[in-house]
Symmetry: none
Subunit: 177 residues, 2 copies
DNA sequence: GATTTATGAATGAAAG
DNA sequence: CTTTCATTCATAAATC
């Protein structure tokens, strides 16, 4: 989308489909090899959504056979895929709702959101052989974020434009600690 | 993750009270201005990790000079920054271990782990003079993204081409139990 | 090879 | 404190 070219992180050379840093000092962003992508996708479609740190390590470890990879790459991969799937679903829901409204399907006031939550339900609750234990069939919260706006801190405030103009005394010494 | 944070959303450019990103979209959430980020980072590297409510208030108060900000932003900033530094270190450390175990990294006797302890080291206990008096003049440093080409993680590695060629054992069966 | 798209990476906010 | 979610930024890959 954007082409905000801020050139840091030099492009790495592509070697066999994988970026490699000759000196190890450059950092192109990681890009999964075909094999890596395949495995990750498999895991995802198997129901894995939020692998634990331990699982991430194992996955990363295994995938390193196919090329350079760091655990954080795996972490981000799942994070992004989950988010984007959700995002997509949300968009669809919206369209559906909009359609419903325009078509005046308001006959029945059933909550459509629920319908989707069910379908989205993580069927997979089994355990993958290599990646044992928990965090598979997550509840994929459908919670509409009721969020108790508890601002942990009721002292928030900010200066008005006027106040911003006259600079405060400023002396925030950190002599403590 | 951590400093060198990309700031595309031109910090400080207030438009009707709302910051605007380079893409022109309004920033719903707070995004520190360059100056604000600088100060926060300084405080952090000075050793501040969990500021008290009072400190948060003061910091927020001071930073409001550089742009809209609420104390909760400061609160979150420290919370996130602290958590992510830990998280990163954790991931990195594990990757390092993995790497060392998988490959005989004995070639290079340097301990990579150390590289990550440096930044955390300095527990400055001195007074930090924030906001030097002459930094007015509507600076809004154009500080162009020094964005260090820091490879956030130099623990990555990959197998040699040869190793990649012959399919490794990799028993990644997705069979369920 | 410029523009668009897909996706890796980052981070503010908040839930757990 | 840890973990998760959303949104955004940046860039490699795809497309025109």
């Amino acid at each position: 989308m954007e082409e905000g070219m801020s050139d840091f992180c030099f492009r790495g050379e592509n070697v066999g489909g994988n970026r490699v840093s000759a000196t190890g000092t450059k950092c192109g962003r990681w890009n999964p090899t075909t094999e890596q992508a395949k495995v990750l996708t498999q895991l995802f479609s198997s129901g894995l959504r939020t692998p634990s740190t331990d699982q991430i390590q194992k996955i990363s470890n295994q995938l390193s056979f196919y090329g350079k990879i760091e655990s954080k790459n795996v972490f981000y991969w799942f994070q992004n895929h989950k988010a984007r799937e959700r995002q997509k679903r949300r968009k669809v829901d919206k369209d559906v709702i909009r359609t419903e409204n325009s078509i005046s399907m308001n006959f029945f006031t059933q909550n459509f959101t629920q319908l989707y939550d069910v379908s989205e339900a993580e069927k997979v609750t089994e355990t993958l052989q290599l990646f044992p234990l928990n965090s598979f069939g997550e509840s994929e919260s459908k919670s509409t974020k009721v969020h108790a706006s508890d601002c942990r801190d009721n002292t928030m405030f900010s200066y008005t434009e006027e106040e911003q103009m006259n600079h405060p005394p400023l002396d925030l010494r950190l002599s403590f600690m």
